[in-house]
Symmetry: C2
Subunit: 130 residues, 2 copies
C-alpha cells in the first residue's frame, strides 16, 4: 500500500461521523446499507452525511452501488486489511519471537479465497477483491 493511500484512509477515519459510518458498515457485512438508513441511524443531516460518505469513498474505504432510488454503501475490507498491514509492516524487525503479526477481517463473500487462507501472508500473495 502506498503511503498517500494510507494517510487518506486514516484521515477519513479520524472523524466521528465517518468512523461511526465505517464501523456501522463493517458490522453490517458485505451487503452494506443505504445512505438514508445510515443517516437515520446516526442522526446526521443528509448533506453532511453525503460529504462524509464521499470522503470515505475517495479514501477507498467504502464502495457504493445504486439500487433504485437508494445508494447502498459497504465497507471495503481489503482496504482496511491493507491499511493495518501497512501500519504494522515488519513490526519488531520481523523478529518472530517478539511479535505475532496481523490478520484482519476478511468476509468470505468478498473473496474467492478458501477460509483457511485468512492471514497477512495470503493477503500479500493473493489478489482478491477491491
Amino acid at each position: 500500500m502506498k503511503k498517500e493511500k494510507a494517510i487518506a484512509a486514516l484521515a477519513a477515519l479520524a472523524q466521528e461521523s465517518r468512523l461511526d459510518v465505517f464501523r456501522m458498515l463493517v458490522q453490517s457485512g458485505p451487503d452494506g446499507l443505504p445512505a438514508g438508513e445510515i443517516g437515520a441511524r446516526l442522526g446526521v443531516p443528509s448533506p453532511t452525511l453525503s460529504f462524509h460518505l464521499n470522503h470515505l469513498k475517495h479514501a477507498a474505504l467504502v464502495s457504493c452501488r445504486r439500487d433504485s432510488r437508494s445508494i447502498i454503501y459497504s465497507a471495503d475490507y481489503k482496504a482496511m486489511n491493507d491499511l493495518i498491514s501497512y501500519m504494522m509492516e515488519n513490526c519488531c524487525r520481523g523478529d518472530a519471537n517478539q511479535c505475532a503479526p496481523v490478520a484482519a477481517c476478511k468476509p468470505a463473500r468478498e473473496t474467492n479465497v478458501k477460509p483457511r487462507l485468512r492471514n497477512a501472508e495470503s493477503e500479500k500473495r493473493g489478489k482478491v477483491n477491491a
Copy 2:
C-alpha cells in the same frame, strides 16, 4: 476502547511525518529510538518533530522515557491493537463463517492483547508485509 481515543489515534496517524515516525517505531520494536535519531532519519526539523511526537504521545500511540540527554520514544503496541479491534469490532455481525477477526502485533515484552482477538492463524509466527 472509547471513541474519542480511537479518533485521537487515527488523527495522529493521518499525517505523513507522524505516520512515518510511528511506523519507524513499530519496526524498531519495544526498545524505541531517541528523538534525535528519528528526526535525523526522516529529515524533519526538531521543533516540527517535537510537535508531532507530542501529538502521538497525547494520542497514546507512543510513550517516552529520558535516557541521559536523549528522550527515547517507543510504539505502544497495545494502543494499536485496541484501535484495530475498535475499528473491526463485531465485523460482519460476528458471523464466524463470513469473517476472520483481527489480531495485531504483540511484542513479548508488552502485556497481552485480548484473547478473543486471537485465532489459530494469528498464532502462526511469521513476517508481516504490506
